[in-house]
């Protein structure tokens, strides 16, 4: 779906990280966690391409006055890393953005009985909040969140408000446990058995470690990937990753935008 949105708020939640709320059409309410959006940051050829972002949250604002309307909103959590995100950070309430959404395949919720383990690294936390909101309706959810330093740990309060047990770790020990989020997660997984699904998003080395743990312990595991994208809809073949069957003589490339961004870890080739 293509739509124009108005910025409702755009705040720096931690140095270099922003949370933006924009209006959205009601149809977006049926988007699933893990799906993503592509944003045209400016009505200009600079930047040229849309930028992909996860869905941090979708909700409805009640009518503000009698005769007013409910307003569906979309939230993104983003990190300023380059030109496009820097421009986004300068937007104000009332500015208008152009969206292509929802795109891709989201997380599969799986068996409601099992425990849900969310693992987020840095800005990889972004798609996990919307997921967590849906999961807590039926399941026990724990969140492991890691970052380089304490400023990379975002929105813990929001998750805790959902009643989710949250484990924080930082590489430099400035917040929570000192060490990698995957180490902390593995320690806690050891303590308890039972049916589990891991949902993870973050930098590639982290996802690799998560996938290793999932494989070793035979835990179901879905990962959300990033890739350089041009179209977001399977047309340009720019965003591919190697599937598990990939080999030089039998290529198995998958579009992150269309077949992902969420994959079962077993669908992918891990090196």
């Amino acid at each position: 779906m293509l739509f124009k949105s108005m910025v409702l708020s755009n705040h720096e939640v931690s140095p270099g990280y922003y949370r933006m709320r924009v209006t959205a059409p009601p149809e977006l309410l049926s988007a699933s966690p893990g799906q993503f959006v592509m944003v045209k940051v400016r009505d200009s050829i600079d930047p040229l391409l849309r930028r992909p972002f996860g869905i941090f949250d979708i909700g409805v604002l009640p009518a503000a006055y009698d005769g007013g309307c409910e307003q569906v909103y979309l939230e993104m959590l983003y990190k300023v890393v380059g030109k496009g995100t820097a421009m986004m950070a300068t937007l104000h309430n009332g500015d208008v953005l152009d969206f292509l959404a929802p795109l891709g395949n989201g997380f599969r919720m799986g068996n409601p009985q099992g425990e849900k383990v969310l693992v987020g690294g840095g800005i990889g936390l972004a798609p996990l909040y919307f997921l967590a909101k849906k999961l807590v309706e039926n399941s026990k959810v724990r969140l492991f969140i890691g970052g380089r330093t304490r400023e990379d740990i975002l929105c813990v309060t929001e998750f805790e408000r959902l009643g989710i047990e949250t484990y924080v770790s930082t590489d430099d020990g400035t917040l929570g446990a000192c060490g990698l989020v995957t180490e902390v997660m593995e320690r806690h997984l050891t303590e308890d058995g039972g049916d589990k699904t891991i949902f993870s998003c973050g930098p590639m080395p982290m996802l690799q470690a998560v996938a290793d743990i999932a494989r070793r312990r035979s835990i179901a595991c879905q990962v959300s990937l990033e890739a350089h994208m041009a179209c977001g809809m399977g047309a340009c073949l720019g965003c591919v990753v190697k599937g598990s069957e990939h080999g030089d003589s039998h290529p198995d490339y998958r579009c992150v935008c269309k077949e992902g961004p969420v994959f079962n870890f077993q669908q992918l080739m891990w090196v």
């Binding site: 600079d46 391409l49 350089h228 041009a230 047309a235 073949l237 965003c239 030089d248 290529p251």
Partner: protein, 304 residues
């Protein structure tokens, strides 16, 4: 009165001159939720080879100033899977589908054309002699007029379908290439394919693209494309299809003025999947508002 937007590319009659460019529009189906495919003139499918191709390692794309580089490496499903899996959708639309094809040898080009000759969903063929991404591939054919003519003759002898040759801009003299292809009995020429470029990441000290170089497309290349279309349209009598950085109806009409019979929309499909339809509509609107009865009146109407 509704302006006459129809154009002819060889024996192929299009309802309007807006065609989607190869490699930027998948196999058409990807865009059906965003765009009424019946509103555009034709679609051109992703470059096709005899055997499936994996394409290049990633990253394959990067944004550059007012453009993008791609080094997809012509990943495609191969002709068998194309016929089996992609033609059923094409059958459901009345808009003609043109197949963009390439080979590593003259024989491969000819064999592909012959395979497609029997496929009724294929309304025409666009021969890519210009893709800069594949080492043994089009690059040789696309920069040498004799080699290009040989490819065109080989394909011509295997197909009765309208035959478009897509020219590379990475040459000293595009007119020489155009003339050679025209003499080899092409029905039309399309240009330009991408300009070969490169992007560097200062932080990692590596090329951004795994393939090192890639093809530059988007608004950045429009001035080069317009110049080449103008040069070629003056030099040949074949219909010319203009490509390169067309983002809106104004851009499209500029190419028509420069001599193009039709135009292709490439990178713009990524920014707005409905772009091709909007461009077709707005071109028609421009004609209506300016009292121009038929798009043909603008073709080559540039006053130099």
């Amino acid at each position: 009165m509704k302006p006459d937007m129809s154009v002819e590319i060889g024996s192929l009659k299009l309802r309007n001159p807006v065609i989607t460019a190869s490699g930027t529009f998948g196999y058409g189906e990807e865009f059906k939720d965003y765009l009424n495919l019946e509103e555009i003139g034709a679609i051109i499918t992703k470059g096709l080879s005899l055997k499936p191709r994996a394409g290049n390692p990633t990253p394959r794309i990067v944004e550059t100033p007012a453009g993008m580089l791609n080094a997809i490496g012509l990943q495609n499903v191969g002709v068998d899977a194309f016929i089996e899996k992609k033609t059923p959708f094409l059958r459901t639309i009345s808009t003609p589908a043109i197949v963009n094809l390439f080979g590593n040898t003259i024989e491969e080009y000819a064999e592909l054309a012959s395979r497609l000759e029997q496929v009724p969903e294929v309304a025409g063929i666009e021969v890519n002699i210009s893709c800069p991404n594949v080492k043994q591939g089009g690059i040789v054919f696309g920069t040498d007029p004799k080699a290009a003519a040989t490819v065109v003759r080989a394909v011509r002898s295997e197909t009765t379908k309208p035959l478009i040759v897509k020219l590379s801009p990475n040459v000293t003299d595009v007119v020489e290439m155009a003339v050679a292809c025209a003499e080899a009995q092409a029905d039309a020429l399309s240009l330009i394919n991408t300009l070969t470029g490169m992007a560097v990441d200062l932080r990692t000290r590596r090329p951004v693209l795994a393939n090192v170089t890639g093809g530059l497309s988007g608004p950045a290349i429009k001035p080069v494309a317009l110049r080449m279309v103008w040069q070629v349209a003056k030099a040949v009598t074949l219909p010319v299809i203009g490509i390169g950085g067309i983002m809106n109806a104004t851009d499209a009409l500029e190419f028509i003025l420069a001599g193009a019979t039709a135009i292709q929309v490439g990178t713009a499909n990524f920014l707005d999947p409905a772009a091709a339809g909007i461009i077709a509509r707005e071109m028609e609107q421009y004609l209506a508002e300016n009292g121009i009865a038929a798009i043909g009146e603008l073709r080559g109407a540039l006053q130099v």
